[in-house]
Symmetry: C2
Subunit: 329 residues, 2 copies
């Protein structure tokens, strides 16, 4: 592998000139020409390790996610990546599959890889563990979608509880009194918040809480699918169900349709995420739509600000979800 010295020798200039040329500085045209052909001749590429060592930066941002597959993450990532890119950064994704050991290990790895910043969707780490792994948070970090309680770093969330509250309220306005909820693990931040919104709405609406109507499983298809079956076995069935995640929603609908139930005539469903698919259904399925794009953009902005010297206290922003379609059907 050719080094900068080889190129310098062949082009008849000094390494510093090559370096300047490579980094967009001004070089006499005649030298630039010689450098160009030397680079081609030797098939020279800068050694990223050496450059990073010198500059102590990599221009890369680590993104630590629980699950690569959820459409929510995909949409957030697209917006995030776009903004980062505009500022000369690239994102590198690491995925821990909702596995505590991997969450630790991948976080450690991302840090050790020399990323300049971190976008982090936590699941199961304590503040102490995070500090230990990151050397006291010296690396700029933005949490998204979830939050480790007490971790002093910028955080971008959506208004899970309020959105859930609004969803339940709308169902109630349509006359539903027995409203079930199928949600993710109670330990996961966002699932917890959505459940809180549900409970608060019941209380505000004067609807009696019935724990048979609360199903907490995983954030997956099977939970939605089995949730349907469990609810149908109740003697006093719900007339409406709030499914608090995309996979759960799809699982539930699949099961309901297989049983020949019409939505919303036989059972009303209020979903979460994946606006494009749900509005495409007939009739459109009402959903809580998180501002995925805005979350990604804001997280990227916060990170860029930290990366460029901003040193204010940690900011936590909750972005508003919307209910779609806007009007009750």
């Amino acid at each position: 592998m050719a080094t900068i010295k080889d190129v310098a020798k062949l082009a008849g200039v000094s390494p510093s000139t090559i370096s300047k040329y490579m980094n967009g500085g001004n070089v006499r045209e005649e030298n630039a020409e010689a450098i160009r052909s030397a680079i081609v001749a030797l098939d020279y590429r800068v050694n990223p390790f050496a450059r990073n060592l010198k500059t102590q930066r990599s221009r890369s941002i680590g993104v630590l996610l629980p699950d690569i597959t959820a459409p929510f993450f995909g949409n957030v990532m697209t917006a995030l990546d776009k903004v980062l890119r505009e500022h000369g950064y690239h994102s590198l994704i690491s995925c821990y599959g909702s596995n505590h050991g991997l969450e630790r290990d991948n976080l450690r790895f991302l840090i050790s890889t020399g990323v300049d910043g971190l976008i982090y969707m936590p699941e199961n780490l304590s503040v102490e563990e995070f500090f230990e792994l990151t050397a006291n948070c010296s690396i700029p970090t933005v949490q998204i979608d979830r939050s480790i309680q007490g971790l002093p770093c910028d955080t971008v969330l959506s208004d899970n509880a309020d959105a859930a509250h609004a969803a339940i309220t709308r169902l109630a306005a349509q006359g539903h009194k027995r409203i079930a909820i199928i949600t993710g693990p109670k330990v996961v931040f966002s699932a917890k918040e959505r459940l809180v919104g549900y409970l608060r709405a019941l209380s505000d609406l004067g609807i009696l809480y019935d724990d048979q109507l609360v199903i907490s499983g995983q954030n997956d298809f099977a939970t939605g699918y089995r949730g349907f079956e469990d609810l149908m076995q109740l003697s006093d069935r719900p007339t409406a169900v709030f499914t608090t995640n995309y996979d759960i929603t799809i699982g539930f609908i699949t099961a309901a349709r297989e049983r020949g139930l019409l939505i919303p005539q036989d059972i009303a469903v209020f979903g979460f995420d994946c606006l494009d698919i749900c509005t495409m259904m007939k009739p459109p399925l009402p959903v809580v739509h998180q501002p995925e794009q805005e979350i990604g953009q804001l997280a990227a902005r916060y990170l860029i600000e930290r990366l460029t010297g901003f040193d204010g206290p940690p900011r936590t922003t909750r972005l508003c979800s919307s209910i779609e379609p806007k009007e009750s059907v």
Copy 2:
């Protein structure tokens, strides 16, 4: 940030001893003790840039994908990552969103980041571009799921054409004669192969080809959804449809159910990917199931072999998909 020298000074030994300690070498217990406490006191971490510069390795593998969201990728990634991890490597994912510019740019970036190897699912790059970006393929690369024609590197594919052939054959055995296909962009390797299998099956079965029954769009929900509507408008409708990707399948089914059509009574559907969801339906939806786990594992093994010195000619392996459920329903 503390350096190895600081630690050495505080512990009263030389930097080389620290280095040896850090890398698991033998150090007198008394020194080890001093080193440990110095590390804690200074909160020392090795500088990854310096280490990588010296060793010229990063122990990381770049994974370049078109789309982060597809369940197929998620399953392949899980298996891949597991094997890599067992060999001391970590995977770093970069996603180009089926965008040609980003495919180039992200590939360049991954290389420049110093990954030791590359797992690549290509879409739109020529051999020349790839060579140009990677400096003549000096970096060990394994292609998965798709292949740039003529690129001399290890490749792990599934038997798209044969699987499609088998799917169509089974539909025909059930008595279907008008069988439609909804597939991804004709330029995408895997979509092309699946279409080829479809055509070959028709020909083998003596079924006349009708271009009204071939819909080529994107690999997404909307294509499946609209595909249904288009097919329903034909005067001579198909009795069966082969949907060659997960999102297309879901989109198609959603549309069909909204129109009140029963599957398979009113229209038979043969899907692709996502075994767990399709078999959960009642009746189970027949699907082509790609060996996601095996693909991930084999790709990882191939890469590890290259990384550890194997220097044979490029290998291309096609792994067999299965049809699920095994028996016709």
